[in-house]
């Protein structure tokens, strides 16, 4: 099972380029696709989900070009778009039954699967309520259930935890971890903690290009020895922000504890253990300044 993205470029009308010669090879596990707003994540997801076509380049699923034969991928694809709707007059079961029919699933198998999925996403008790009365988080969980309907080999989830409460977010992360293994899960988000909890691989994307593709451990190694914890007074914080790349600040009784990213530490700073957010910000800043290859 392999998904290969080969030099994909997506150009919209009026010359806006969302992706530029983007290449990536994805193997079973959870790939966390991280990047700032407007980086091209959703465009890439749409191409992989066969919703839109690449302007140049190709995407291969087990060696088959999905632009030529999208159904090769669609039959094993689960897709949760960033922004999707539901039919407000249907209840959760009816909506999932409808999508099961669209996906061509066998009726009895689909019915069993829908029951299990509604349990899984915690909507079994409201299964007969019209979707029009659901909150945003509940609709999102319906979206998660529909993505899993056909037991997908490739699961693409675009900003899946948007609108979920903290408890459901943790639940969903655990679900993603359990689902990976013999399938590919692509998780697109700008929430680093979601990726930190689930991803076996991380791809950083910025301005439509691939900034880095590595395991979380390898990414962390890149920033080792470059993260510093520094205590400054509140008055000095503004000046510190202007001089250094800061990944976080925490106010404590002795001052503001600042995490600084850089090769050289500020005077009085102590070396700190890096986390994925540090690595993400460091790689992006290196990319922006053109120092990263």
């Amino acid at each position: 099972m392999q998904l290969a993205i080969e030099s994909v470029t997506k150009r919209y009308r009026k010359g806006v380029i969302a992706l530029q010669h983007f290449s990536l090879e994805v193997k079973p596990g959870v790939l966390g696709l991280l990047g700032p707003n407007g980086a091209g994540k959703t465009t890439l997801m749409s191409i992989l989900a066969t919703i839109t076509k690449a302007t140049e380049g190709r995407v291969l699923w087990n060696g088959a070009d999905i632009a030529r034969d999208p159904d090769v991928l669609r039959s094993v694809l689960g897709y949760l778009p960033q922004d999707f709707g539901v039919y407000p007059n249907l209840n959760a079961v009816e909506f999932l039954q409808y999508l099961a029919a669209v996906k061509g699933l066998d009726g009895a198998a689909a019915a069993r699967r829908i029951d299990q999925l509604l349990e899984l996403v915690n909507l079994a008790d409201v299964r007969k309520r019209p979707l029009g009365g659901f909150s945003g988080g509940m609709k999102q969980r319906v979206g998660i259930a529909q993505a899993l309907l056909n037991d997908p080999q490739l699961l693409i989830v675009d900003e899946p935890t948007a609108g979920l409460d903290p408890e459901e977010r943790v639940r969903f992360r655990n679900l993603l971890s359990d689902l990976s293994g013999e399938r590919i899960v692509i998780l697109s988000t700008h929430i680093v903690s979601d990726v930190e909890a689930t991803a076996t691989d991380i791809a950083l994307i910025a301005k439509g290009t691939l900034v880095a593709h590595a395991t979380p451990e390898a990414l962390l190694r890149r920033v080792e020895g470059k993260v510093w914890e520094w205590v400054v007074s509140s008055d000095a914080l503004t000046s510190a922000k202007q001089r250094f790349l800061i990944s976080s600040t925490t106010r404590r009784s002795d001052g503001v504890h600042v995490r600084v990213l850089g090769d050289q530490p500020p005077q009085g700073a102590e070396l700190a253990a890096p986390n994925l957010e540090d690595a993400y910000l460091y790689c992006l800043s290196q990319h922006r300044t053109g120092a990263h290859a």
Binding site: A49, T50, I51, K53, N62, A67, D71, V72, R74, S75, V76, L77, Y79, P81, F84, G85, V86, Y87, P88, N89, L90, E94, Q97, Y98, L99, A101, V102, K103, G104, L105, D106, A109, R112, R113, Q116, L117, E119, L120, N122, L123, A124, D125, V126, R129, P130, G132, G133, F134, S135, G137, M138, G143, L148, N150, D151, E167, V170, R171, N174, D178
Partner: protein, 541 residues
């Protein structure tokens, strides 16, 4: 910021948002087509065998009446989406959180609607100049005579329509398909009332002139008087509309509408009506309050937050940790080769689409449909075919109008079209569901024709059952909106089947007006159009 400035910015932003959409090109295209139709004499104004010399006054009158009659019909459907757009784009929620006054909002929307329709009227005015120069019967442009009927009749009529569209959008019951269908009949009534003061060769005066919303009685009344002076044998017949079945053989010199103070006051009163309608809309406007949405009302006993809490409580009770419940195991689906998808589930999809058509409609709809079915089956063929069938196939219009639009309206496209072979399968399944609906609702007559061994009638009935959903699907897929089918179907139903007009009677309500081969071909073309449109719009098919 003073009030007029707020109003200006509301109208300005709304107008810009509209004119920068591709659909606005269609609006302009339609206005240009109307101009062309006048030039090609497809739209004619005649007084029996007389028509006016093509000078500024005559063409101004023709275009003025087109604006007040046709633009007031089509324009309503073009602009009746301004509040809906704010709802769909969720800009409405932002506006609702501002100190915005409801009256200002509805007035702003009415003015924005008016601006869009005024662009159409101005294009028509420009077309009048071009037509006069091209025809060459009188090349001297007299702007006063040309523009006065267009501005005084056309703009006042579209002002009323602009405000009516906002009122319809503000009233929950008229916001959707019911409003689209009802407006057509309202327009027919308005036109009838407008024409009714026109008797013999005299123009209406006094209060009777006030009921002339379109100005058709005023203009034609004055024209009739002029022709009567020219030809004493002329007794007052006149026509205005599509088609040119009896071309005019004589001309007369029309010098323009005489604008009496009574007429001007009458038009000003219609402007006041427009203002009142826009303000009345504010009374019903829900200010994007989701709790006033009908679906929210339907689940009022357990609102969304309560449902969420219920789900969360259930979760908390059964799962003390955040780990997945150990009892829930997803059953792996059987796979054949690399595909988990069986290849023959088309009928399941047809049934799913069929069930989807019926969602969200009240029980009494089914009672009435069943009543019409039984009436078709047990009444005489003479009553059922030209009479009851009309109702039986008008009744499901709002069901058919969903076809091909749901994916866009509810943003489910990404979920559906990422499924294997979804574009052709789902489209054909939707069509099949629509045909099934036609066969069921008109089935009483179908069975009746079968029992009576009227096979030619049965064939015509079958073609109609294939044609109606094909039209709904093609219009739904190409426009992405239910309005087009609701408006065109209602108008066509009124003109063709209701009056048993040959060539236009797609329901084949009489043997004489039936043209099944033409409509069978049209159904095939429409389905093909829907399929091609969808496959072109989707990156993959």
């Amino acid at each position: 910021m003073n009030r007029s400035r707020i109003l200006y910015h509301m109208v300005h932003a709304d107008f810009l948002e509209r004119v920068r959409r591709y659909s606005f090109l269609l609006t302009i295209g339609f206005a240009i087509y109307l101009g062309y139709a006048v030039y090609a004499r497809q739209v004619t104004l005649q007084l029996n065998h007389y028509r006016g010399v093509d000078n500024s006054a005559w063409l101004g009158a023709v275009i003025g009446l087109i604006s007040s009659v046709w633009v007031s019909l089509i324009g309503f459907y073009i602009v009746k989406n301004s509040i809906q757009r704010d709802r769909q784009t969720r800009v409405g929620q932002i506006l609702a959180a501002t100190p915005m006054n409801k009256s200002f909002y509805t007035l702003g929307k009415a003015l924005s609607n008016f601006a869009v329709l005024a662009v159409m009227v101005l294009i028509l005015a420009l077309a009048a100049v071009v037509i006069q120069l091209l025809r060459g019967e009188d090349t001297q442009i007299q702007f006063g005579a040309l523009l006065s009927p267009i501005l005084i009749l056309g703009l006042t009529a579209v002002a009323v329509v602009a405000a009516l569209a906002v009122l319809f959008e503000s009233l929950p019951v008229l916001r959707g398909g019911v409003g689209n269908v009802l407006y057509f009949f309202f327009w027919v009534a308005l036109l009838s009332i407008s024409v009714s003061p026109l008797t013999g060769s005299r123009q209406p005066t006094g209060l009777r002139a006030l009921q002339d919303f379109t100005g058709i009685a005023t203009v034609m009344g004055q024209m009739r008087e002029q022709v009567h002076q020219l030809d004493p044998h002329y007794e007052g017949g006149s026509s205005f509309g599509l088609g040119n079945f009896n071309p005019a053989t004589k001309t007369f010199l029309w010098t323009g509408v005489h604008w009496s103070s009574g007429l001007i006051v009458g038009r000003a009163l219609w402007l006041a009506v427009a203002l009142l309608l826009a303000l009345l809309a504010a009374v019903f406007f829900d200010r994007f309050d989701p709790s006033r949405n009908s679906l929210r009302t339907a689940v009022k006993r357990k609102p969304a937050s309560a449902l969420d809490t219920l789900a969360a409580q259930t979760f908390a009770a059964t799962n003390s940790s955040l780990a997945l419940p150990p009892t829930i195991q997803l059953t792996p689906l059987p796979r054949s080769g690399t595909s988990a998808v069986p290849r023959s589930r088309f009928f399941a999809l047809v049934l799913a689409e069929f069930r989807l058509l019926f969602r969200g409609h009240a029980w009494w709809w089914y009672i009435a449909a069943a009543g019409l079915f039984i009436a078709c089956l047990f009444s005489s063929l003479e009553d059922a075919r030209p009479g009851i069938l009309l109702a039986a196939w008008f009744w499901p219009a709002l069901f058919w109008s969903q076809m091909g639009t749901r994916e866009q309206i509810f943003s489910t496209g990404a979920l559906i079209f990422s499924a294997p072979r979804a574009a052709p399968r789902q489209l054909l399944a939707t069509y099949a569901a629509g045909v099934l609906l036609a066969a069921l609702t008109g089935g009483g007559l179908g069975l009746h024709l079968l029992f009576a061994r009227d096979f030619s009638g049965l064939a015509a009935w079958s073609v109609a059952a294939l044609f109606i959903p094909a039209m709904a699907l093609a219009l739904g897929v190409t426009t992405g909106s239910r309005k087009a089918f609701e408006a065109i179907y209602t108008a066509w139903w009124y003109v063709g089947p209701l009056h048993h007009l040959p060539r236009f009677d797609f329901m084949a309500t009489t043997a004489q007006s039936s043209t099944p081969i033409g409509y069978l071909s049209a159904a095939a073309v429409l389905v093909l159009l829907a399929y091609s449109w969808r496959t072109v719009r989707l990156a993959y098919a």
